[in-house]
């Protein structure tokens, strides 16, 4: 018994499904309806997307149970894999926290909408329930050469024109999306090299920022690192901490006024070989022209 044959069940003579399929249906259907309701209720857009992805996987399982193996897997690949993924991508692009505004712009829209929705539901369901369907035949004969082959015979046979047309449609859609989202660059593109040059010309910091106080004698995020001259580097503390005022005071870690590095007791040496002829640290930073 294969996975597929476990899922799919040939119809009985009377056109009803096997009991295995019925169990599958009654487990999945409520879950899917719940997931779909999430679409109406949920506030966070990502939750909605996840719920819909779940519904689509559920649909794929139902397709496979209904002897449409090809479409079942295409459903997963195309809908869950590509379309919902695209939705998630756009969600993250336009800001995931964009939530619905609760202000009603059209008065009474909510009530009218709900009424209309219930109306559609009642009409459709009553039509489906009251309609008389022929005795179900099942796809055993049509799927004799395996389902993908059966579908492809039709797609590339009777429906080949439609197939070509959808191909053209897809290409057009891809081009359209490119044009819609394309933005003309107003200036010249600034590349890595130009950025680096501009940085040097501005005299900005060239090296990565020093990590907070873990270099020398301290080991905490709120303590500034010390440069080779024993001066605290203020930027080494996270900007967030600085704005909140949670950093340890930098002054506490500075060398005392006039203290020469040579006079620092040996156990507090930060940098043992200090060349006295090197320029002052301020000049090296080069940030003073601004």
């Amino acid at each position: 018994m294969t996975l597929a044959s476990a899922l799919h069940a040939t119809l009985t003579e009377a056109g009803t499904t096997s009991s295995g399929e019925a169990v599958l249906f009654w487990v999945l259907a409520p879950l899917m309806v719940l997931g779909a309701l999430g679409l109406m209720v949920s506030r966070r857009t990502v939750h909605v997307a996840v719920a819909i992805a779940g519904v689509m996987v559920g649909l794929a399982v139902l397709y496979i149970a209904q002897e449409a193996y090809f479409l079942g897997f295409v459903q997963v690949v195309v809908y869950t894999g590509a379309i919902m993924m695209l939705f998630l991508f756009v969600l993250m692009l336009v800001g995931v926290d964009a939530s619905d505004s609760l202000v009603e712009t059209l008065s009474g829209q909510r009530w009218i909408g709900e009424l209309a929705g219930i109306g559609i539901g009642v009409v459709l369901i009553s039509v489906v329930v009251r309609a008389s369907f022929p005795t179900a035949v099942g796809l055993d004969a049509a799927n004799a050469d395996s389902n993908p082959v059966g579908v492809s015979r039709l797609v590339f046979g009777n429906f080949v024109l439609a197939f070509e047309a959808t191909g053209a449609l897809l290409v057009t859609a891809a081009l359209g999306a490119l044009i819609l989202t394309h933005r003309r660059r107003l200036g010249r593109k600034i590349g890595q090299r130009e950025l680096a040059d501009a940085r040097v010309a501005k005299g900005a910091r060239l090296t990565p920022l020093a990590a907070p106080g873990v270099y020398a004698r301290h080991n905490a995020m709120d303590v500034p690192a010390l440069d080779p001259y024993g001066e605290p580097i203020e930027e080494s503390v996270s900007r967030v901490l600085r704005i909140r005022g949670q950093e340890a005071a930098a002054a506490a870690f500075a060398l005392e006024e006039g203290a020469e590095a040579e006079n620092v007791p040996e156990d507090q040496w930060l940098h043992t070989t200090q060349d006295p002829e090197l320029p002052e640290p301020g000049n090296q930073e080069g940030g003073e022209e601004k």
Partner: protein, 99 residues
């Protein structure tokens, strides 16, 4: 279990999708409602295909999927470009032409 159950499920899903389109105002969620409606129709098509014993229903569902893919690509591109200019994904904010 008769195959009508599948059709009922399809109509319920379709209704939920349609109601979402009517009620929600976030463009992306509205769009997902449309997708749900398309999926519900696919389920109905596949059920009919099984009921009548030929694969044409499945072929229709296949084409619906392809067209849906094209539609999503364009729709999301429109949402992105609206968001770029108006910083909002709400369908209420797109009423510039009215005044």
């Amino acid at each position: 279990m008769s195959l009508t159950n599948y059709l009922v499920l399809a109509t319920i899903l379709f209704t939920i999708g349609a109601t979402t389109v009517l009620l929600r105002r976030n463009g992306i969620i509205v769009f997902m409602g449309v997708e749900l409606m398309l999926n519900a129709t696919n389920l109905a098509l596949i059920t009919f295909s099984r009921m009548h014993g030929n694969l044409e229903g499945q072929v229709f569902a296949f084409f619906v999927m392809v067209v849906a893919a094209a539609e999503v690509v364009i729709g999301l591109a429109i949402i992105v470009s609206i968001f770029r200019t108006r910083r909002s994904a709400s369908v209420d904010d797109v009423n510039l032409l009215r005044n």
